[in-house]
Amino acid sequence: MAMTDVAHDAVDYVRPAEVAEEELYHPKTWLGKYVFSQDAKIIALQYSMTAMAVGLIALVLSVLMRLQLGFPNVFSFITPDAYIQFVTMHGMIMVIYLLTALFLGGFGNYLIPLMVGARDMVFPYVNMISYWVYLFAVLLLLASFFVPGGPTGAGWTLYPPQTILPGTPGADWGILLMLVSLGFFVIGFTMGGLNYVVTVLQARTRGMTLMRMPLTVWAIFTATVLALFAFPALLVSAVMMTLDSVLGTSFFMPAIVSMGQTLDHSGGSPVLFQHLFWFFGHPEVYIVALPAFGIISELISVHARKNIFGYRLMVWAIVVIGGLSFVVWAHHMYVSGMNPYFGFFFATTTLIIAVPTAIKVYNWVLTLWRGNIRLTVPMLFAIGFVFTFINGGLTGIFLGNVIVDVPLSDTYFVVAHFHMVMAVSPVLAVFGAVYHWYPKITGRMLNESLGKFHFWVTFVGLYCIYYPMHYLGILGVPRRYYANGVTDFIPESAQTMNAAISIAAIIVASTQLVFLYNLAVSSTRGKPAGDNPWGATTLEWQTATTPPTHGNFGKELPLVYRWAYDYSVPGAKEDFIPQNVPASGDTGDAR
């Protein structure tokens, strides 16, 4: 069985094929090739560009929030209602429509078939539909900016009852569009997700045992499995809330007097919604984090010219973290009014997750140790990720430990923590990944000077934004406040800090334009990359052409003889040996 393979021993023999290769679908029209494409690589680009476009909107929303927080009463168009609408849409877009879509729909689609040695996803047609359903979900969501009352301002967690009551902006149209859009997102994702899982399980090339797969594939695969289990909880809660709102049912709505009016609801449970939401919401954290883990493992190993340290433990850590992520959800609810005895259980499970997570961090750092580190732009972002992830991971221990969470929950400490661990770190991983794989996607390198500028401003800037924010939270400044007003325990200096954070945020946000410029210009004017500019071992760098064409590998699929991390093998001619080189090819010419 594959799992018992000694991961790093190369072989000379790969079993013969049992069935003939299936013929690929070949598009006949321009539309079929580039728009309604069934090629995972095109779909990946469609997903990525849509996600980045909508992410740009969320970025602008965050700048608007920072304007209000840093300079209250200066921008009269930012009303209290507008502010919480920005908060809500920023959060939901970033978590679901940007990061989830980008990591799974974007990187998943591009990398899985190429890295496991498949010609395409297993179900290309469903894969195509997946993207168009996602696009429809995005359009529905954006439409809520244009309906009466605007988008919902319920917070991205959409906690009832306020979500559908008149004291919250967007309680009539905005929230409905949000719920319907989420429903479509889940449907679209499920189509794509099944594809990723089946492709990894069934379409790996010969010799690509599970324990020879690159960690990127392991991570995206596990994240997809998590998503397939977790998203249904979001779907059912969206359906029930829609019914509460439209038909007046009472799944989440108890008896209420809202704004002087006695409502017809009775008997529903707001806490039930929170359980459903976080049953989805916590795995969601890892749906975003795991792909970042995988990508970082890849980047660090390639650019340190050293095998990833402790590969098997890294795989198990991914799987264990994924499993545990389903039994920790209520650590988001320590002060929600649920039975307080839950606290013992969920604090314990949550802190257990710290162990496999710490192992991942140790192994990244130990991979660098005694490596031969090339500080390329992808490597800079990878090291930046490790730094911010250590910070964000450690503050997670504060919030996971139930009693420590009590004073910190609903303060800026929470905001700082989850941005550090779920925004800054994954975004640094995304940037690293883009700089790393862009040469394969376009055949050209991104401009290195612009890349370095982008890295330094983004990395140092983001850290300076979020690190001090923790201390506002420890002081007790509550989150989701339009203005702090006159509050005795908040000193004047906190407002100065807020202004400084806002200025840093504006600088970091504008710097992303440099990145977009680099993406656009380098696609035609960048330095030609060649097939394997980084000297990497994994299969996507061994394609016949760059960028890879339809079918990925030309006439013959590559055969895999070794694990994905043969870097600096003693006695080998080069400091890397691609996965498709047999054991006897070790000492000879690696190509």
């Binding site: 919480i84 209420i256 002087g260 009014g337 750092v365 420590v404 009590v406 004073p407």
Partner: protein
């Protein structure tokens, strides 16, 4: 080289920031010093890990930077090292979790002799209820809530007649004796939050939640809402006054019981008409949405309101006079000011109360 230096600077800067920043826990005013202690333990363990790993990271980046003539080590696994690191991490986690759960066990066990006090939340104000001389809180139901019975007291429950109802802006508590805060919401989620107490808990409509603490330091502290509750969330404020038992008892004496509220009207509290109006505005929660200093809010500011010309949602304009104010209080959505959501509930005030409120509005 540059990266290694920057990483070291960020580590050093973070540690310095921790010790030098003016923002840290507020001085505690309850018995939950244990919470601060577990926070400190967590800071020590996590801070140690943060510094050590990141300095090692910086060292690696510097020491093993690329040289053409060098090869990286080839070491796929090192079981011994991996086991040591796992064990070390496990010990660190236990060192933080064990005291945490120990304190949590105290937190969930409410002392038998705790005094019951109820905080009631609604968009966007706080009210409070104390059991009367019988020590029992009367039963309540959301169906009993109306303008004359904002707490939803069961009028037929004899235990409730002597309950003390506080609609003002303050909750008072005596020092030194444990308090069980019962939390009840009439509409949406809220969270009763006083930073100096450390403990906090959501209010959930449809159920009663609670937490307990013992006040230890006299003072007047901000009460905030810590769970997003709609447009006026950030303005849902009140104060907690912690004082000696005698002062507390004297204060409690002056507050009306439920039976009192059924005969005495809101405005009959004494003082000038403007002062009475100010009390009405505070007790009815008006200032949660309407600022009195000109700052923007969920509703139009009251500063300079009287005589101002407002543009209405239908495009017409109106000069604000007493008649317009009375209409806007009794039927807020009839002539809504442009740019504001139609979310203000109608208020049925008796004539004297209305007169007081209008006098207050005209004084601003």
């Amino acid at each position: 080289m540059v990266l290694a230096i920057i990483l070291v600077l960020l580590v050093v800067g973070s540690v310095l920031f921790h010790f030098l920043s003016p923002w840290y826990l507020t001085p505690i005013a309850s018995n939950w010093g244990f919470i601060d202690d577990t926070l400190t333990i967590t800071f020590i363990v996590c801070g140690f890990v943060f510094v050590v790993i990141n300095l090692f990271l910086a060292y690696c980046v510097y020491r093993y930077r690329y040289r053409k003539d060098r090869r990286a080590d080839y070491e796929p696994e090192n079981k011994r090292l991996e086991w040591w690191l796992t064990a070390f991490t496990t010990v660190g986690v236990i060192a933080m979790l064990a005291p945490g759960l120990f304190v949590w066990a105290k937190y969930v066990e409410v002392p038998e002799n705790a005094r019951l006090v109820e905080a009631v939340g609604q968009q966007w104000k706080w009210t409070y209820r104390y059991p009367g001389t019988d020590g029992i809180l009367g039963t309540v139901d959301i169906r009993h809530v109306d303008a004359n019975n904002p707490f939803g007291m069961n009028p037929d429950d004899p235990n409730g007649q002597d309950d003390v109802l506080v609609s003002g802006q303050e909750i008072h508590l005596p020092l030194g004796s444990p308090v069980k805060m019962l939390l009840r919401s009439k509409d949406v989620l809220h969270d009763f939050y006083v930073p100096q107490i450390r403990a906090k808990m959501d209010l959930v409509p449809g159920m009663i939640t609670y937490f307990w603490f013992t006040p230890t330091r006299a003072g007047r502290y901000d009460v905030l809402c810590a769970e997003l509750c709609g447009s006026g969330h950030y303005n849902m404020r009140s104060y907690m006054v912690l004082e000696e038992e005698s002062a507390f008892n004297a204060w409690l004496e002056t507050q009306p019981t439920f039976a009192d509220t059924q005969v005495v009207k809101v405005a009959a509290v004494g003082g000038s008409l403007v002062e009475q109006g100010q009390q009405v505005a505070e007790s009815q929660g008006c200032i949660g949405c309407h600022s009195i200093d000109g700052s923007p809010g969920v509703g139009p500011t009251w500063q300079g309101l009287a005589g101002r010309t407002e543009t209405l949602a239908d495009g017409s304009t109106v000069v604000v006079d007493d008649d317009y104010l009375i209409e806007s209080i009794a039927a807020p959505n009839a002539s809504l000011v442009a740019g504001y959501p139609p979310i203000m509930p109608p208020y049925q005030l008796d004539e004297a109360t209305m007169a007081a409120l209008i006098a207050y509005l005209n004084s601003l």
